[in-house]
């Protein structure tokens, strides 16, 4: 049980640019925090600084209010599960689990009972006498998890532990990890670049880019209200369509012109945007799932489009279409929907769910 606090933490490797640049993050006691971001954004570096495997160039890290910058990794009482598991190849599974306990001088009978308990929880009791090289990837992953659990650390640090598993096993492990977290209630920091893991596992997600934190929040909160263009374009797949456009004032009503389409902004939004539409340029964001094939009794805005590509995924059909101005967007449509490539197609956007971004600052304009 512990809360982990990062204060103005930076990491600079050698003479490169900062891999982690002045980040602040508060992870609550018992929280499942997901660090999400593209490759090279500094997720692992952040995790490794918390673990003590990487020195902290600037800033402070606290565990339960205690400054740990200079505390040896062996004494932080954290557990890591690495992407490639890093089991001890010369020891069998039981010895792998026992290693940390022995170093901490846990009595022998207690070590045994804790190993058995952990092995039972993870379904690896049959594997205790095997060497790591005699295990499948999925089994190694469980052993790595077991090695972390058996020590009952103050927090778990996961560095993409599911990325080497096949899709089906990954889905199983996702649910198991969440269940495990519910049972243990231990703080978890989970690094991933998998959207689904981030959305389904985390109490909160922390989205990083190029060493800085772009947004922290509950998964659905971040999905509903992305703070900027990067988050909007990163979360979910296919991500939000982002289209450059400009405001037009036509008499009483405020309109936006994007790629050859004119959208009338609903009156109650127009007021909210009143303070910003003096800026002419804007980026409009609309999620593929907010585009429909029917107008919902005229409530949605019609767009004349041309079909560019069709991806029939089974549960749904992703349609890539071209707007009159040439901009391509994607729409998430019913699985039975088909239209030939090149054909004209009328689609309807739920304009109430649109997002607007300032092209200069890239920040979202107005929280609804």
């Amino acid at each position: 049980m512990s809360e982990i606090t990062l204060r103005n933490v930076s990491k600079i490797y050698g003479s490169d640019d900062a891999a982690v640049n002045n980040i602040n993050l508060d992870i609550k006691d018992g929280e499942f925090m997901v660090l999400l971001g593209p490759s090279g954004c500094g997720k692992s570096t952040t995790l490794r600084m918390i673990a003590g495997l990487e020195s902290i160039t600037a800033g402070d890290i606290f565990i339960d209010g205690k400054l740990i910058n200079d505390i040896d990794p062996a004494e932080r009482d954290l557990a890591i599960v690495f992407q490639n598991y890093a089991l001890y190849p010369h020891m069998n599974v039981a010895a792998n689990l026992a290693f940390g306990l022995k170093l901490r001088k846990v009595p022998k009978d207690q070590i045994e009972s804790r190993i058995l308990k952990t092995a039972n929880t993870l379904g690896i009791s049959e594997l205790l006498t095997r060497r790591p090289r005699e295990l499948s990837g999925g089994q190694q992953q469980r052993v790595a998890l077991g090695r972390a659990m058996v020590r009952e650390p103050v927090a778990f640090l996961f560095d993409e532990p599911l990325s080497n598993l096949d899709a089906k096993l990954r889905a199983t492990m996702r649910t198991e990890l969440v269940k495990l977290h519910n049972d243990l209630g231990t703080t978890i920091i989970h690094v991933t670049h998998d959207q689904v893991e981030a959305m389904t596992m985390g109490d909160r997600i922390c989205i990083m880019r190029k060493g800085i934190i772009e947004q922290v929040g509950k998964p659905l909160e971040v999905y509903r209200n992305p703070a900027n263009i990067f988050v909007a374009g990163f979360l979910a797949s296919p991500p939000m369509n982002l289209i450059e456009g400009s405001f037009e004032q036509e008499g009483d009503s405020l309109k936006i012109e994007v790629s050859g389409i004119t959208l009338t902004i609903p009156a109650h939004f127009a007021n909210a945007y009143g303070n910003v539409h003096s800026r002419k340029d804007v980026i409009l964001g609309i999620r593929p799932e907010d585009i429909y094939t029917d107008s919902n009794d005229g409530r949605y805005t019609c767009m004349e489009t041309q079909v560019v590509a069709v991806e029939a995924l089974g549960p749904e059909t992703i349609m890539v279409v071209k707007l009159p101005g040439g901009k391509e967007i994607s729409a998430r449509l019913d699985r039975s929907f088909r239209a030939p490539i090149g054909s004209a197609l009328k689609l309807y956007a739920d304009i109430e769910r649109m997002h607007l971004f300032d092209p200069e600052t890239e920040k979202a304009i107005v929280a609804r």
Binding site: D72, A74, F82, N84, L87, Y88, H90, R104, P132
Partner: protein, 271 residues
């Protein structure tokens, strides 16, 4: 069907030709070693009745036994000192990047000079330090060959997957020393063993340094053999027997080394 057979046979034929080019002189030497001075020069070979008299004679010969013991103790001494030093060097390069790239290159560059350039300064140094014709001197000389080479070999070992495994141990609660002794060393053992065997063989076979720096009391086998004379003059059959004895350890150690080298390089822990 025929094509497949040819395809499988061809590499073997090629390998057979090449390996017989290497094996033939050795087999010839073996034949000579098993016969006597009279039959030794006969072509086509005359077999007489093969016997081990030559081997018995050289081991009864004090000078040969002297070379053998010198070689053995110098090779073992070199390895016992060079291996731990090289391991420490390699670990420090791999973990702390000691001296950075320049130091690594400096260590390696000593391997790039022709040995003959090093041997003369070493000779004058040893002369001043009265290390010529001593085992200590020979061991020091061979360490200058072994150490950089072993360090260079072991850095690759210490920089591999072992880094993360070691970090896992640190997180598990091990101090640096505990992680090194209980995780890194056991995992690296085959690699270290291979490196040790290599060091032994390097020293065992070394000729130039031994020729210049050793003397009558400290001659190693390669030097001794090059001037091997029995009390009856040069006896090719005796010399062959001695040469066979000289290469025997290498023949025994090489396959061992190959096995451990491969084991050391692939931890097999990480799929």
């Amino acid at each position: 069907m025929h094509k497949g057979l040819l395809k499988r046979l061809l590499p073997h034929v090629v390998l057979l030709v090449f390996s017989s080019a290497i094996l033939f002189p050795i087999l010839w030497m073996l034949r000579v070693a098993l016969t006597n001075k009279m039959n030794a020069y006969q072509i086509p070979p005359v077999w007489g009745n093969p016997n081990f008299n030559n081997f018995i004679e050289i081991f009864a010969d004090n000078s040969f036994m002297g070379y053998f013991v010198n070689s053995l103790s110098i090779a073992i001494g070199t390895t016992l000192i060079a291996l731990p030093l090289a391991a420490a060097m390699a670990y420090s390069f791999a973990r702390y990047n000691t001296g950075g790239l320049p130091l690594r290159l400096a260590v390696l560059s000593s391997q790039m000079l022709p040995p003959v350039i090093l041997v003369l300064p070493l000779f004058s140094l040893f002369l001043k330090a009265s290390l010529l014709n001593t085992q200590t001197g020979m061991i020091i000389a061979h360490i200058t060959i072994s150490l950089p080479f072993l360090a260079w070999l072991l850095v690759a070992f210490f920089e591999g997957d072992i880094v993360i495994i070691e970090q896992a141990a640190r997180i598990d609660g091990a101090t640096r020393l505990q992680a090194f002794l209980r995780i890194t060393m056991p995992i690296m053992a085959p690699g270290l063993l291979a490196a040790g065997l290599l060091s032994f063989i390097l020293s065992w076979n070394e000729f130039l340094f031994a020729l210049i720096l050793s003397g009558p009391q400290t001659n190693t086998l390669p030097v001794g053999l090059s001037s091997y004379q029995s009390h009856r003059g040069v006896d090719i059959a005796l010399l062959s027997a001695a040469a066979i004895c000289a290469i025997l350890p290498v023949f025994i150690l090489l396959p061992l080394m190959k096995k451990h080298l491969i084991k050391g390089l692939s931890l097999g822990a990480i799929k």
